[in-house]
Symmetry: C2
Subunit: 316 residues, 2 copies
């Protein structure tokens, strides 16, 4: 449904527009993780997270007519900024449907990219319905946060760059929210190195993909109350789930305390800012939850949009 | 006393040992600063600050006999870590004389590099005397934090890399503590581009170099109480001051609040951690204190050793 060639095509469209983010290596982390670790730092991506890759790629495939009418998206935050920036880059406009309790830094950033915002209560309202309604009544193109082949292919480009830079790995680690990042990542990794193990990371309170994989079908959980606001999707996607059933080998859970410790490690030792969701892979590494025979690990640090005030609350 | 060739020689010694740190560019910063800005991110340097350049360079020029006896250094923090790591890299040992109120993260890091620590009260005791005594009685080689040509030449390599990467600039900005970083930086910048303006930044409470330049001779001030613990040297160095009299065009002052705002900007927008001293150049840019005709500015972000707990206190 999404192939390595789709990801290569996405990479060509993103060339010169998305940042080729740095790969970070830390001797201290290698010692703590008991393996060689390569961190793909998508917190340095445009709009602060990997989401720009998928959003821009999907938007770039809209027709001129669609772009002139505009884009609509729903998102707990990073996809919102990504779509807002992508729309601006392509000379289009965007309306973003965001939860009322989104971090202030994320709402401000979306406005900063020139998008309009419609808010909803994520404990009682259905964002799909709100966005679908806007799309239908105003003729807007909906770019979903994960459940779309163009979005998934775009997200895969981070891993394409990572493997291009560091060569073969035995284990790839990525957080799972809606599952678009890991689906794209796994598509690339397993096509290039069939023996690679793909490990997803979810917050303990938001383990819908782990449960769904165990059950063999999508399992819906209550909206998770976790600091990892980017990973609180209650049920795997219709498109991402079958891909991840085939491509993801294991899902590891981390606690909010694990995420805080990983954020502190990133600040103290790597000198970088990660949002809680973005620290999920690092948390799995630092708590040594990965298979013990992993020797060469790639991990996607998915984003850094947390804001200084919220950061201080989380780590203080 | 220190020439471009000295800095080039230092760069050759540091090649493959010090990190060639990234140069960061931010459209948002350009807009706020009203100029094109290139940030040399020495917070990503080994041991977390530019200090490793000078410390390693100086240590690498010691004789085998000196290295076998060991190194002694005094420092408010970053030079301590730098000398500890340099000694370890060269198979030597180090004793570091540190203030009792050094940030915990810095003391821990020095111990982590295997050095021994001797503490002193920086409001009542003389660290020069303590270190000199250790050097005399134990036959140790003293590597001072700034007042040494080899140290100054090593610090200049950051600017050599910066200009090699971005080409000509009209203004170079660097913080001033003891003056070693700016002396080395200015040596390189003015040798390569004679018209460049070199601007130093000091905390309002620690403006010894500004006063000294105005007076035409070194002026001693009380030990500054500022969050910029790396910039609290009370009097310019015997070697750095005459160099900076010749090479530094202007010194700008920033408040502790300016430094906090700059640290927040770095976290929010650049996704990087700066310690207060390391944010001095950014604070000068964000407050628009630089000459208004600056169009292409290089700025050294000198370090990122603040620690997550202290960071949360400072920005919360």
């Amino acid at each position: 449904m999404v192939t390595l060639q789709d990801v290569r095509d996405a990479a060509a469209r993103l060339d010169g527009i998305a940042h080729r983010t740095p790969v970070i290596h830390s001797r201290t982390l290698d010692e703590l993780a008991g393996a060689q670790v390569f961190l793909k730092a998508e917190n340095f991506q445009r709009a602060g997270a990997f989401k720009f890759r998928g959003a821009y790629h999907a938007a770039s495939r809209l027709t001129a007519d669609q772009l002139s009418r505009g884009i609509v998206a729903f998102s707990s935050g990073n996809h919102a900024q990504a779509v807002a920036l992508a729309a601006r880059e392509l000379g289009s406009s965007a309306i973003i449907v965001m939860p009322t309790d989104s971090p202030a830094a994320k709402i401000e950033a979306v406005r900063g990219y020139g998008a309009d915002i419609v808010t909803y209560d994520r404990y009682t309202e259905d964002r799909h319905a709100i966005a679908g309604d806007l799309a239908a009544t105003r003729g807007l193109a909906l770019i979903p946060p994960y459940d779309h082949p163009d979005v998934i292919a775009g997200q895969g480009t981070a891993t394409l760059e990572l493997l291009d830079e560091i060569g073969e790995i035995d284990t790839l680690v990525a957080p799972i929210g809606g599952g678009g990042l890991i689906a794209g990542s796994a598509t690339v990794a397993k096509a290039l190195h069939p023996g690679v193990r793909v490990i997803g990371v979810e917050p303990e309170a938001g383990d819908d993909t782990r449960r769904s994989l165990a059950a063999g079908e999508p399992v819906r959980i209550p909206v998770a109350r976790t600091i990892a606001d980017g990973l609180t999707v209650p049920v795997p996607g219709d498109i991402t789930f079958p891909l991840n059933q085939r491509l993801v080998d294991e899902v590891i859970l981390v606690s909010d305390d694990d995420l805080r410790d990983a954020m502190r490690f990133a600040l103290d030792r790597l000198k970088i800012v990660l949002e809680p969701s973005g620290a999920a892979g690092l948390a799995a590494l630092l708590t040594r939850r990965l298979p013990t025979d992993s020797a060469r690990i790639g991990a996607i640090l998915s984003g850094g949009n947390v804001g200084a005030t919220r950061l201080a609350e989380l780590i203080g």
